[in-house]
């Protein structure tokens, strides 16, 4: 049996990391060093799955049979500031139809006519496992869909399957089984197995939230952020359910999202973007990458957020600057 020395190293690292620190430190879900680390305090089996998933995330996939694809690897778009992050260039923009069909840039065999679509920039994925298990997802005890560009995918795993098939042109065994049942579809060849889908899901689920700045809690702009209503949608705290896997079970974190879909102007509906790590993901900013600065993004809020924007415009220069300073330090 070939032993993966990197994995052994990671497992050893996990053991040495998990044991000496206090339970309190281990339960903080933020990266201790920099973006892209695994969650502190992960069980060894999950560390192993995280490591396997991270390799699949950065692997170059050559889609079979000319399947349409937007990119050849996850990291092609999810790269800034580290693998698992967002996209900072026009290459990382996608067009999404109203039915949440990713529109391939290089339509080939399965080209479909799309007359309209919304532009979305690639979102960062750090801490997405915390959002998966947030109690804020639940309405009447049922978790709302929050994944995907239009926030209409139920589970993180389904999101991974969808991203592989629609962005990379790589189909899983179950996805191919579905496709091959359709009469007119071209025979689908699976290129990723279900265990690998599980590993990529684990990688995303157990990626730590962005490193936390001490200023995020103490900054003077925080009260302005709350006072003018930003926190009505960008609610600071999420709490995680008791059925979340360790070490996520029952903890809280500051993600700055209510995980709900809102109209932010001109009929565009987006799930409230978590603001943690905001400054490290741009420019550009805003869901369609149309804002060059964080200030521009603040001023682009309309629709349900117009009242808060108008309040921000009435702030003194010092207060507005403080608000921006707070956002830059999340």
């Amino acid at each position: 049996m070939k032993i993966n020395t990197s994995l052994l190293f990671a497992l050893f690292g996990a053991v040495t990391y998990a044991s000496p620190f206090s339970a309190e430190v281990a339960r903080l879900p933020y990266a201790k060093g920099y973006f892209g680390e695994s969650l502190p305090g992960l069980p060894i089996a999950d560390i192993a799955a995280f490591e396997r998933g991270s390799l699949l995330f950065v692997k170059r996939w050559d889609a079979a049979g000319g399947n349409p694809q937007n990119a050849s690897s996850c990291v092609s778009c999810h790269s800034a500031p580290m693998p698992g992050g967002g996209g900072m260039s026009s290459q990382a923009l996608v067009k999404v139809s109203s039915t949440n069909q990713i529109i391939q840039k290089n339509n080939r065999i399965e080209a479909k006519p799309h007359t309209s679509g919304e532009t979305r920039r690639t979102p960062p994925l750090f801490g997405i496992g915390l959002l998966e298990f947030a109690t804020q997802r639940k309405t009447d005890g049922i978790a709302r869909p929050i994944f995907g560009a239009l926030a209409n995918v139920d589970s993180l795993r389904d999101f991974v399957v969808k991203a592989f098939s629609e962005e990379l042109g790589i189909y899983s065994i179950s996805e191919c089984a579905k496709r091959n049942k359709r009469e007119s579809s071209i025979y689908c060849i699976p290129q990723i197995n279900e265990n690998e889908i599980d590993d990529v899901t684990s990688y995303l689920r157990f990626t730590a939230a962005p490193p936390r700045s001490k200023l995020a809690t103490d900054h003077a702009g925080r009260s302005t952020f709350i006072d003018i209503g930003c926190a009505d949608c960008h609610t600071p705290t999420i709490s995680l359910t008791s059925n979340a896997p360790p070490p996520l079970k029952g903890i809280s974190a500051e993600a700055f999202t209510d995980l709900k879909v809102h109209n932010v102007g001109e009929g565009v509906k987006v799930r409230t973007t978590p603001l943690w790590g905001l400054k490290s993901y741009g420019p550009p900013y805003w869901h369609d990458a149309s804002a060059k600065t964080i200030k521009d993004a603040v001023l682009k809020h309309n629709g349900e957020a117009v009242e808060s924007k108008l309040k921000s415009l009435s702030l003194s220069d010092q207060e507005f600057s403080s608000l921006l300073g707070f956002l830059e330090n999340l």
């Binding site: 020395t5 990197s6 190293f9 990671a10 690292g13 430190v25 201790k32 060093g33 920099y34 680390e37 991270s54 390799l55 950065v58 692997k59 170059r60 990119a71 050849s72 690897s73 990291v75 092609s76 790269s79 800034a80 500031p81 693998p83 900072m88 260039s89 026009s90 290459q91 490193p211 400054k279 490290s280 741009g282 420019p283």
Partner: protein, 344 residues
């Protein structure tokens, strides 16, 4: 404050810029603060806490958000900065602490290298799969050429013609010949997952690539474009710097909290290169908690005895005595220090 710094430069001997930076390549460091949209000039021998000679935090206003890599010309009076949040290279007058001019590149430029005795600059544009060659004499871009997928690292051999470029997302190393008004594509070789920095030290016959997710440094014969060997290092090596004497490489292992010092040069063909692991250490905070360092980029001084690396976990630049394999100084910086180079 700027004038105090300027006075300090005068006292330190600013006239030395006429014939090369003072300290002869072993004292002054340029660094980018990616998270602060700033760059800085640092004197590693400066008084503790006052090592930063100047900081330019107006790069964003000059259209240069997220400064990534930084290099200086051989004379040591100009710095070149890639603006990864835009599509520019900014040229900075080091003594005057001012942006002199900008040159438009492709989108999200990353690593850059000065070559042809300071007359040209090459930069990898990760955002639109191109590489730009810039003529520093005319202050204009000469041409772009395509490299896929997501070019990040770039190196030019001492002959000023042969270039190697990493494809970050495609896991390969590309070879081109740089001609006056175009680049001729030679070929490529798969090198592993997430290849980032590449260097071609000495006569340029071997390219060394840090492959981040393969946890290795890969040596490639630049003539045959064949892979020579894969050297396992620490976890997630982000970058590597070649010593000017051609005898070693300093590799930053981002996730294993250490550096690998690889012996190369004359020893490479005789046996497996010797590898020394140097701990990157940790920063102890006021509350007693420790944060282990996460090395990002590295540079080696002109005398090949001093190493320096940027630390993303604690926002620091760390100085290493290479013959002794130990840390000698820690300098606090702005947020997310990425690029680093000793001024020659």
């Amino acid at each position: 404050m700027k004038y105090i710094n300027f006075l300090m430069l005068m006292l330190l001997g600013v006239d030395a810029w006429a014939g090369g930076a003072f300290g002869h390549g072993n004292q002054l460091i340029l660094a980018t603060y990616w998270g602060d949209d700033a760059i800085a000039l640092i004197d590693i021998n400066g008084e503790s806490g006052k090592e930063e000679i100047w900081r330019i935090d107006t790069l964003k206003a000059a259209g240069c958000p997220k400064p990534y890599d930084i290099r200086s010309n051989p004379k040591g009076d100009e710095a070149y900065v890639s603006c990864s949040g835009a599509d520019l290279v900014v040229v900075v007058d080091i003594p005057a602490q001012q942006v002199k001019y900008t040159v438009k590149t492709g989108s999200s430029p990353r690593d850059l290298v000065v070559f042809d005795e300071g007359r040209k600059l090459i930069v990898a544009n990760s955002g639109n799969d191109t590489v730009s060659v810039i003529d520093l004499v005319s202050q204009k871009k000469s041409y772009d050429f395509p490299i896929s997928n997501q070019p990040y690292g770039v190196a030019v051999s001492a002959n000023g013609v042969d270039a190697a470029i990493t494809g970050w997302a495609s896991g390969d190393l590309h070879f081109v010949r740089l001609e006056k008004d175009r680049a001729r594509y030679i070929g490529k070789v798969d090198v592993g997952l997430l290849p980032y920095t590449v260097v071609t030290p000495g006569d340029g016959s071997i390219a060394y690539v840090a492959t981040n997710a393969s946890h290795a440094v890969v040596a490639v014969d630049t003539k045959s474009t064949k892979l020579l060997k894969t050297i396992k290092v620490g976890r997630n090596p982000w970058s590597l710097a070649a010593s000017p004497d051609g005898n070693s490489l300093l590799v930053t292992n981002n996730r294993s909290n250490n550096l690998s010092l690889l012996k190369t040069g004359a020893t490479i063909s005789a046996a497996e290169p010797n590898q020394v692991t140097i701990s990157a250490g940790a920063q102890t905070h006021d509350d007693g908690e420790e944060t282990k360092r996460a090395p990002k980029n590295a540079s080696i001084s002109a005398n090949s005895k001093i190493g320096a690396f940027t630390d993303l976990a604690n926002n620091q630049i760390v100085i290493v005595d290479l013959p002794a394999n130990k840390i000698t100084k820690v300098i606090n910086t702005g947020k997310a220090p990425y690029g680093i180079e000793f001024i020659r």
